[in-house]
Symmetry: C2
Subunit: 367 residues, 2 copies
């Protein structure tokens, strides 16, 4: 087991990464001072529950904890105020008190939902992330938790740091290949933002990562978490540098919204968004090799790098206007200058974005 | 205008108390660095809106702000997830961004609701309290914001400190006399907790306070806010001394829940709760004069100090078991030892609480 400390002053916490960790959930909770007098709530989804819920429950019960479990539907639709309210009802009925903890067993959706419940139940109780996807290596660092509103994604949320993150790489073996690739998109993203060497490492180890080689996964997840933790610890509340983590997200979120949540996986959408951002970088003077390299790296991880030809550029632009990455009416775009380096630009012209989106349309692939 | 600074490190904020302040809302917002490029949302209720909403809107618009206003129904029922969701919809439709601010114009209900919207919209935006009740001198200090769940009051919430509090005592003249008294219950509570001299000052100035004498109000509100701010700044997240502010609340919340929210005003319920807490104090060895003095002080402010005879002691006890002021299964009770001094007790016997509640029943008054 490897440990990475996320340095956030009094809100610092460790990430444990390794094999066979699920069965030690109870002892980790006890080591972190969570009393067995207070009930523990485990929130998971119906894809994950059959594989791993019992292991976690057994481990907790062996350590003397009373467990309340909640299984939500897999997928983005569970990040709703309706499901949030249901979780609150279960927490109250289960007798959770201020010393209780809520455990998120699953991917980003479960982590965001459970984290927002923990952030707001009794004005905030303890929260533990147990990620079961590669993508969640990103969402489990940084404390951003949220649910969606029908009009906007992640618009209702909080910053709530976990007590600890328990990352059992054994759980990744049940991931469908598309989700493996989508998760690796965020891993590569961390390299593209500020670590050229790690970006090339991801490309070189693409086949090992895609086949879930354990050593490669532990290294890649640790490095990805570490880069993100470094950025978050400089700017916990996203007033500055943290925005660079949104590379690919402005276009990516718009693609997800237009296609309907769930058609593109989040990692797939931001893969396309990162190609778009690289192209914007080239339009603003970067070496064109930035674009071809970015695209090649993403394709090595079996990620999509172009848009369906029938997706409307106008619709995508309109969706961006609803995106919360606007500040005082100006568009904030994260733009690469080279592999491993990005800048935050506030002055991107709509016409350039339109040209880039047009350029992302597939040339005959889906025609 | 008097200014009181609430010292919470980087989350410190000022409370401005005086006359004619509503008309200066816009300039205060500008002085606090809120940009006029971002829309401002004002949340108020249908009792307050006819008197004061236009004054606040005019002041904001004169200062160049675009204003989105939301008028909710007066009363505790607006502290629901349903109304919360409606506020989120209005905020999104109104184009609020991360630089926007949400203003709570009203009493505790509006402050709690608007504060929780501000705490969770885009993971937290700026929040301004504009109290229009005496009771809100309490709720506007300390950053506790929340909505209710059908199963429990204030169970869903956050800690979110305001940017500033603008307390215009002119708005108090529209308060019904019952609400004046209920608000003064929290003012006196601050004296009972840690300022004997102020508790006696409240009793001596009862008639001036009840008749809304401006100088007495400004002094009493400042002193009440100041005591609360002092306690909150020692313990922002309620891990210790802050719990003393819950004097009278364990019994009080149970009374509110049993009677149905709205039958007793919050201040009335905690008035009865403070009499009960004083009686518990006497049971645990305090001088019996504590009980008679507490009761006399509350009665000087026209507050109820006994329960209807037909209210079931068992129901009240059962409601307390749902109250969130339990920690690891133990009951936390704030118990006075003398006027101006309280202790936090974890070991209160149920039988003693039962006796005290029985003792609070009216002796023939409603018979």
């Amino acid at each position: 087991m490897k440990t990475l400390n996320v340095d956030l002053g009094e809100r610092s916490y460790p990430i444990y990464i390794g094999s066979g960790l699920l069965a030690k959930t109870g002892s980790h909770l006890a080591q972190h001072g969570v009393s067995s007098k207070s009930p523990i709530m485990v929130i998971t989804d119906d894809q994950i529950a059959p594989y791993y819920l019992q292991i976690v429950k057994d481990s907790l019960e062996q350590a003397g904890y009373k467990v309340v479990s909640a299984v939500v539907q897999s997928g983005e639709t569970s990040k709703s105020l309706t499901v949030y309210t249901e979780m609150m009802t279960l927490a109250i009925e289960g007798g959770l008190d201020r010393s209780s903890a809520i455990l998120a067993l699953g991917g980003g959706v479960v982590g965001d939902l459970a984290g927002f419940v923990a952030a707001t139940y009794m004005r905030g109780i303890r929260f533990v992330q147990i990620p079961t996807t590669i993508l969640a290596h990103d969402s489990s660092v940084g404390g951003k938790v949220a649910v969606n509103h029908p009009l906007a994604k992640n618009i209702i949320g909080a910053f709530h740091q976990p007590e600890f993150v328990l990352y059992d790489v054994d759980t990744l073996k049940t991931l469908p290949p598309r989700e493996v690739s989508a998760g690796l998109a965020e891993m590569l993203k961390h390299g593209l933002i500020q670590d050229e060497e790690f970006a090339y490492w991801c490309e070189e180890h693409a086949n090992k990562l895609l086949s879930l080689d354990k050593d490669s996964l532990v290294y890649g997840l640790l490095r990805g978490c570490s880069i993100k933790a470094d950025i978050v610890s400089q700017d916990e509340r996203e007033n500055g540098i943290r925005a660079t983590l949104n590379l690919g997200h402005t276009i990516g979120h718009a693609i997800e919204a237009i296609a309907g949540y769930g058609k593109f996986l989040h990692g797939e959408a931001i893969s396309i968004g990162m190609v778009g951002a690289a192209q914007l970088g080239v339009l603003r003077g970067a070496d064109p090799v930035l674009y071809t390299t970015t695209r090649r790296m993403l394709e090595s991880l079996n990620l999509p790098t172009s848009l369906p030809a029938d997706m409307s550029t106008d619709d995508i632009l309109a969706a961006m206007m609803h995106d919360k990455k606007f500040r005082e009416g100006l568009m904030v775009f994260i733009i690469p200058t080279k592999i491993g380096e990005v800048v935050v630009a506030n002055d991107v012209r709509v016409q350039d974005v339109r040209d880039v989106i047009d350029g992302l349309k597939e040339r005959g692939v889906n025609a």
